[in-house]
Amino acid sequence: MISVVDLNRSFGTAHVLKDLSFDIAPGRMTGFVGGNGAGKTTTMRIILGVLEADSGQVLHDGKPITAGYRAHIGYMPEERGLYPKMSTIDQLVFLGDLHGRDRRETRTRGMELLERLGLAERATSPVEELSLGNQQRAQIAAALIHDPVALILDEPFSGLDPVAVDVTLEVLRDVADAGAPVLFSSHQLDLVERLCDELVIIAAGEVRASGTRAELLATADPVWELEADADTGWVRGMGVRVEEFDGGHVRFGADSEEQAQAVLAEAMTRGVVHRFGPVTHSLHDIFKETLA
């Protein structure tokens, strides 16, 4: 378990992180979501120790994180960086060697990784000659080459086609399944919704919501939707909060299931009901709500 506790960080007069705290649980994929400038990259850089917090701590299993543990994290920085003139496989061997791994074994492992990520045939090309999507795959391989104990990935899916996203996801899932905590940031909510077990939503340097998707969805106010033949303007008199109203269609929030059912009963006495049911929230709604 990696925990960030009460992180604060300012750049000049901008207070970028404000008492930021959350956990990255082992064996889970944690999505780190927030708008531009919310503080995601700053947080990740502090976790990796390439940036210092003004105050607050990064803990590993309750104790301050060590340089040694950090060295074993697989890290993918926001701005992609590999040596432009070095071939992908050579960089992987170099990075493995830097982690104290055997060069020959790393070469084999690197080729396997590239094979899996669909980059094997470009393994010996200099990185600068690869397409952006392929550079992205090379970067993912670089984060994984040393068999990391945890993964911190800044926007790992940006620039990848859907097939590459699926392959990458599979690889990351394997790392999580081996018991490593995995944190990745993204602003592609549909992806996050599909991929992550846990979510941390931040805005303006503060955690606005966190937990599993189900937990987050549960916190949202329950909303029902009713579609009927007749005009539904009468719903306003039922003691529920009408959010949307358009002739025969109404969307309302109710405090309890009973209250909602009472609306349904009333509707059936007034005419034909085409549709009635609770509205399923998407993360998108929650995201917008928490940031509102």
């Binding site: 990796l48 340089a67 060295a71 074993h72 960086g81 040596y83 990075l95 060697d97 081996a178 018991g179």
Partner: protein
Amino acid sequence: MSTTTNTSTHVGTDDHRRVSFAHAVGVVARREIVTRVRSKGFLVPTLIMLGILLLLAVVGPSVASMIAGSDDTIAVTVQTQDALPEDGYEPMVVGSEQEVRDAVLAGDAEAGLIPGPAPLGLTVIGEREAPTSLIQGLSVSPEVELIGTDAADPMALYFIGLGFGLVFFMSAMMFGMTMAQSVVEEKQTRIVEILLSTISTRALLTGKILGNTVLAFAQVVAYAAVALIGLAVNGGRLNLDGLGLPIVWFVGLFLLGFVMIAALYGAAASLVSRQEDIGTSTTPVTMMVMFPYFAIIALSSNPTALHVLSYIPFSAPVSVPMRVFTGDATWWQNSVSVLILAASVVVALWFAAMVYERSILRTGKALTWREVLR
């Protein structure tokens, strides 16, 4: 539950330590060297330079003497045959003075030598002009006695200084710039974030300095070896006896001096995030590297100036070998020079580590020395 516990225990029991400092330095240095040696920009110019040096040092003097030594044919009579200097002339013995004149006119001989008036008793016959060397060879000169036998030829000293200065200047610039570019490349591509989440800043900087120093040193040793081979092959022909020891001094001091220069180039480069800004940020270091080169050219004939320059760390690698060559330097003066240089290396390393640590992760706009040193 049990599987989860097992796998997480596996992850948990992994030895969470960094690799040793020495290992990290070794890996970084190795990459610097391998990348550089494989690049065309390094290998081709080095081989060309070695080839030129080898040609100049080994083949050059022989070629020169071959061209100069195609012996002039001189027409002589039996009487003047013995008067002709042996070195560099091919005598063509003919029967009479008239035949000597005919041979010269016909172009069969460069010049002729016939009996003439006193005091020499010889007349040189030429078509339009006679070879000056022949006339000098036949002239009577006063006896010359040189009493300052140890004093070095000022021209030789000048060229030796120029040679040392040039090699130092070129190598320091070339590998200093390589060092600078390599630092900025890592900063610009942000791979430095990945590297520094794995190893310490000091290990990274040390590895880079080590790698570039090994490259520069290997190149200089190769140049020096070629020069020494040339001297050995040509032994007597070049009057550069006693250059062996200065070359050894030069190589040793170059090693120290280059560590200092590489550290300073690394520090200067860490201030900027784009290759385009390297020139500006490394200008102060480049000036310090150019200083000995120009100082030596201007002051090679001034022993006092050379003495002073030998105590300045940037010029010591050039001026100390020169003073060893002239024989002006005493052992303790050289020791002081080495000590000053070694102390400067330590200070430069400390300074570079501080600057590099403070600036390598601060990307964006170029930093100023003031911002970093504050």
